[in-house]
Amino acid sequence: MSLLALEDVNAGYGRTPVLHDISMDIQEGEIVSLIGRNGAGKSTLMKTIIGLLSPTSGEISFRGEAVTDDPAERRARRGIGYVPQDKEIFPRLTVHENLKVGRLVNERSDEELFEEMYDYFPILDERRQQRAGTMSGGEQQMLAIARALVGAPDLLLLDEPSEGVQPTIVEEISDAVKEINDDIGTTIFFVEQHLEFTINTTERCYVIETGEIVNELPPDELRDSEVVQQHITV
């Protein structure tokens, strides 16, 4: 059964339309990515899926139920986790408090999962009582991912997880993403400019261009520089 399905979704900011008739489908257990140029609407699509933006038309369903009219907080409680671009950790809360916010609201979460997050990202364990705003970009990214996962989501949305993160840490994050998908079976949908990251983790890749899904590729084709030239390079 498809976990997330979008049907002819249109969305934008105020009166400015950004997404045009987006239809897509993500199966349970998949890792799917989305590539496209800057300004193509990648982050807008993520915000529309989590519910921070309401579509002007079209249908979004999650686990077969329509969620189009649900606000973000209800979609989160239904099992969608969201890691935004720029991480958006709560800077003046401690690492532990950040994770607690992720857990608080979700009945499916428990103490065990909470501790498991510290196993996936040991650095966070060392920093439990540190204010999150004082950590490096990579550490904040790990915190943002852990904070979403601690709510036990069925679907994890990652918006450019490698942005502003040192190359050595990018690999660590991409390993963790794969591991999480293997271990817990979390379905993952992510936006990424970093090609190596996409090729290494993904099973299927949507291509977005000026607000429309124009193609669907197996990730291997991303090794082909012509394809890359055509879809991503500015």
Binding site: I50, L52, A72, E88, F90, R92, V105
Partner: protein, 288 residues
Amino acid sequence: MAVVEELFRFLVLMLSFFGTLALAGIGLAIIFGIMGIINFAHGEFIMIGAYSTSMAYQFGLPLIAAIGVGGLATGVFGLVVERLLIRHMYDRLIDTLVATWGLSLILTQVVRIQFGGSFAGVPVPFGTFQYGGFSASMYKIVLGFAAIALFALAYVILMYTDYGLQARAAMQNKDMARSLGVQTDRVYMLTFFFGSVLSGVAGGLFAPLTVLTPSMGSDYIVKAFVTVIVGGANVIVGTSGAALSLGFIQTPASQIFGTLGGRVALLVTTILIIRILPEGISGVVTRD
């Protein structure tokens, strides 16, 4: 001996100024700090707290219970205001300003029509105490400690409860908090209730020290604004620090230049602090 006496007089006066500023400001600070909403009817919330405390007291309740009733009544009133008015204007600072200002005018008039120009007061409890040639109302000292206790309570609620964590998260990044499942709508409703209760309790605590009139709120809203502006965005540390430093300045000023001089000193200090520290005291204590 005279030096000790003067010092004592200074401390008592300062404690009472601190208490008045801190209590006047706490409800406004919580609502502004967490929701980003300026409640211009804040003074009238204090008035409602004072009136309902007096009513409960005339009814025969002991003062402390009457103050509790005053806080609760104001809290319930705040809840109604939030549901009917405020929640339609989240993220619209100017609109809430105008709407709550209108509310403040309406409340003052309704109370005037209903209860007339003044209302039965509450006698000052605890009597006075004597120290050498200096005597003061015991209650003014109690007021200072009551302010400390309320701040401690607010601190514990914000730092150690689930509500507090969600409120702090929503305050730092509302959209992200929502994306994690925090029902910010509910958090804001509770925050407005919480702030209203604190304003009502403050009004109840002020009731024995002041004449209860429909327009008594205008006196407190000035004190509240001065405190919150100097305090800045940090609800607990900023506001209590502001009340403490303003009280420290108001005390000698009012001793030397009288009550009016004390108030002028408050305003001048506020203007100077905003020039030097645009983010108020919070800017000094909060680092990201």
